[in-house]
């Protein structure tokens, strides 16, 4: 790639500078500046690899004592009692999944609809402002979402939670709570934390789905319309099949963000270390919120346990996001286009 092109003397018929078929060979002789440039760019690229590697190594090394002392119990124990010598992340994993699930229940239908609205329904003059708005919403710091959720959203969600519990609880046992009359038994629940996280990941899901929808081929769209399809008919037969892997990828990227969301969950929940099958009931916990709440009072084995929890979260989000990346990139190459 280095590009000082130096013709090797005058073209003799044989000897150096000429290949076996008598063609002149041009060789690059990189200058020192050139060599430095390539080396610098390469080392910058390598340093990102090194940083990622270091994250994994430091977490793994730090977590080793805890993993060694707890063994497989680290993944199956649900209590966190480092003073007593037993701790594990089972309930934390369950809580993380529960919150992520509620987040997706809110964010996926809403994000899907909003993405369709922006790419298919919105008047042309509104499209660009709406795209900017979604990007801006993704840039709003999560601490601001956390305040909004704590001081505004929670109060309104309480009535919904109470309604669900009182009216649907008799039929669906997982919606029951212990004291259905008092509003305080509905605060700080996995349901509320999940919906707040859902609002945080909404712009992520929307922007990925919108991008894929807007890439649906114009020819096929026009074909569907010309055959007499309604707008929804065109979307159902052209836009959604074309964007299917974008939809899946967007959902998974949203899940990845939801699993790692810390501040919103930490601000809302009251920590608890039990398997809850009643998501409307007060009390839950996630890995990220647990790390944020315990790091300062932990030392020794307890801290090592937190690093282990961080390692599990790191591995979890890495897997989810890599899969999502694969799915989305496949859709961009147009491999999913079959109508």
């Amino acid at each position: 790639m280095s590009t000082v092109l130096v013709p090797e003397k005058a073209p003799p018929t044989t000897g150096r500078g000429v290949d076996s078929r008598g063609r002149r060979v041009i060789k690059a002789r990189p200058t020192p500046a050139e060599r430095t440039f390539v080396a610098a760019a390469r080392s910058a690229a390598l340093s990102t690899l090194v940083v990622m590697g270091l994250i994994g190594v430091f977490l793994a090394v730090g977590a080793w004592p805890a993993l060694q002392s707890q063994g497989a119990g680290f993944l199956t124990e649900s209590q966190w009692l480092p003073e007593a010598g037993t701790f594990g992340i089972a309930s934390l994993l369950w809580g993380t999944l529960l919150v992520g699930l509620f987040a997706l229940v809110v964010a996926v239908p809403c994000g899907f609809g909003a993405a369709l609205f922006i790419s298919e329904y919105a008047p042309r003059s509104l499209k660009r402002p709406l795209v900017t708005l979604v990007d801006l919403m993704a840039a709003v710091p999560s601490i601001i979402y956390a305040m909004w959720a704590l001081f505004f959203l929670q109060a309104h969600l309480l009535t919904i939670a109470e309604f669900l519990s009182v009216h649907l609880g008799p039929v669906l046992p997982f919606l029951r709570v212990k004291v259905p009359d008092s509003p305080s038994s509905y605060t700080s629940s996995a349901f509320i934390a999940g919906i707040a996280v859902g609002v945080v990941v909404l712009p992520t899901i929307t922007s990925i789905m919108r991008e894929v929808f807007s890439q649906a081929p114009v020819g096929e769209r026009e074909g569907a319309i010309a055959l007499g399809a309604t707008r929804w008919g065109m979307i159902r037969t052209v836009v959604i099949p074309f964007g299917r892997s974008g939809i899946v990828g967007g959902i998974m990227l949203g899940l990845g963000r939801a699993l790692g969301e810390t501040i919103v969950v930490y601000a809302l929940i009251s920590p608890m270390f039990e398997f809850t099958t009643h998501p409307l009931e007060s009390g839950t916990n996630t890995i990220a919120a647990h790390i944020a709440s315990r790091y300062s009072e932990s030392g020794g084995l307890a801290l090592s346990g937190l690093l282990g929890a961080g390692l599990v979260l790191f591995a979890f989000t890495l897997v989810v996001n890599t899969l999502a990346g694969l799915v989305v990139s496949r859709s961009r190459s147009g491999a999913a286009t079959e109508i």
Binding site: A33, E34, A45, L59, A114, F151, T230, G260
Partner: protein, 375 residues
């Protein structure tokens, strides 16, 4: 057809409008809305033992969709009705998105207004006052200093690294490019709390460094590098290949091409990349929470002692059960929000220019230098 040829202007069939709202749609929507409102008001408020505004509007929405389908069925076939109902649902989703953002901004500004009116809010710290002190004492000066220093340091560390990586990915295109690209993508997905935990375990536990602003800015780098790299790579790819080839054809080295042609052409986009990176990290709370330490005092020195920053200030104050503290938290949140919006707007304005387009000032300067050379 015969009449059309005889008097084309008079009897031309009405133009078919595709898109836009026809009077029929408007009538149907208004009718369904009003009808469902009346029905739900009677049933929900008067007949059933239910109450609450949210429940009312949820029930109204369901009844509205049903009524819209019923009203549309008077003029449309089944497919048309489905089309209209889906249109209503999708439009609602878009409105929810806009309402969420508007709600968050308006709510934060309304609650923060109280604290923002006091001048001392910007010039004092909360170091020597109690959390219950009135709003004309104490402020966010220490937090602003901390944010400025930490963000500046993470810019200094991650922008050269990010842009050099982008140059490697799009210009040098070595063997590692694919691997690096997917690792950078994975890096952007690392939960910020894990980034904080990493710096905590490396600096604080391994090397015995105390918690400080420098550690916080290193934790921020982990989130900033992938943003800068991916944005910069996209921007560099937009530089026309003809420019590169023209430069190489003049006999320059690749380094000269990148320095004199590619980077100057992409300058606006690179500025956008930096601004987006700053907007991303300026509000990060969880990594800073772990490694910046906790204080309310003013600390100019990022290498020693705990240093507070704006998101950390918001977080600490909002957890106090006192009206003044919460008002301060909202005030600081508004400052943070304004910073993010300004950075974002700047990035849009700068990035809106096509690659190579020059601002007026740069054009004048260039004209002057060209004239100077020709003299």
């Amino acid at each position: 057809m015969a009449t059309a040829t005889a008097a084309p202007a008079a009897t031309r069939p009405p133009r078919v409008r595709i898109g836009g709202l026809s009077p029929e749609v408007v009538t149907h929507v208004v009718a369904a809305g009003a009808g469902s409102l009346a029905l739900v008001w009677i049933v929900y408020e008067r007949l059933l033992p239910l109450h609450g505004a949210i429940g009312f509007w949820l029930v109204w929405y369901v009844v509205f969709i049903v009524m819209l389908a019923a009203v549309s069925a008077t003029t449309l076939d089944r497919m048309g009705v489905v089309d209209r109902v889906v249109g209503a649902l999708v439009t609602t989703a878009g409105m929810i998105l806009v309402a969420c953002l508007a709600g968050i901004v308006v709510f934060t500004v309304l609650r923060g207004k109280q604290a923002l009116g006091h001048l001392n809010f910007y010039t004092e710290t909360t170091a020597f006052i109690g959390p219950e002190a009135p709003l004309d004492h104490g402020g966010i000066y220490a937090a602003m200093v901390g944010t400025l220093e930490q963000v500046a340091m993470s810019v200094v560390m991650s922008v050269p690294l990010g842009i050099a990586t982008a140059v490697y990915l799009s210009e040098v295109r070595g063997k590692l490019a694919r691997l690096v690209r997917s690792v950078v993508e994975a890096m952007s997905a690392v939960p910020t709390i894990v980034a904080g935990l990493f710096i905590y375990s490396m600096l604080v536990l391994k090397f015995g460094q105390e918690r400080c602003g420098l550690a916080a800015s290193m934790a921020l780098c982990v989130s900033m590098i992938p943003v800068v790299t991916t944005t910069a790579e996209v921007v560099l790819r937009l530089v026309p290949g003809g420019l590169r080839e023209a430069s190489l054809a003049l006999g320059t080295t690749q380094w000269q091409t990148v320095r004199r042609v590619v980077l100057p052409t992409a300058r606006a986009g690179l500025v956008t990349a930096v601004l987006l990176g700053v907007a991303r990290v300026i509000g990060e709370t969880s990594p800073v929470l772990l490694v910046a330490g906790s204080t309310s005092e003013l600390n100019y020195d990022p290498t020693h002692g705990p240093q507070v920053s704006l998101p950390l200030f918001v977080f600490n104050q909002m957890r106090l059960p006192l009206d003044q503290a919460i008002a301060r938290a909202f005030g600081a949140a508004v400052v943070l929000l304004v910073l993010v919006v300004v950075l974002f707007g700047l990035a849009r304005i700068v990035g809106g220019r096509s690659p190579g387009a020059m601002s007026k000032r740069r054009q004048r300067r260039m004209n002057r230098s060209v004239r100077g050379e020709s003299l």
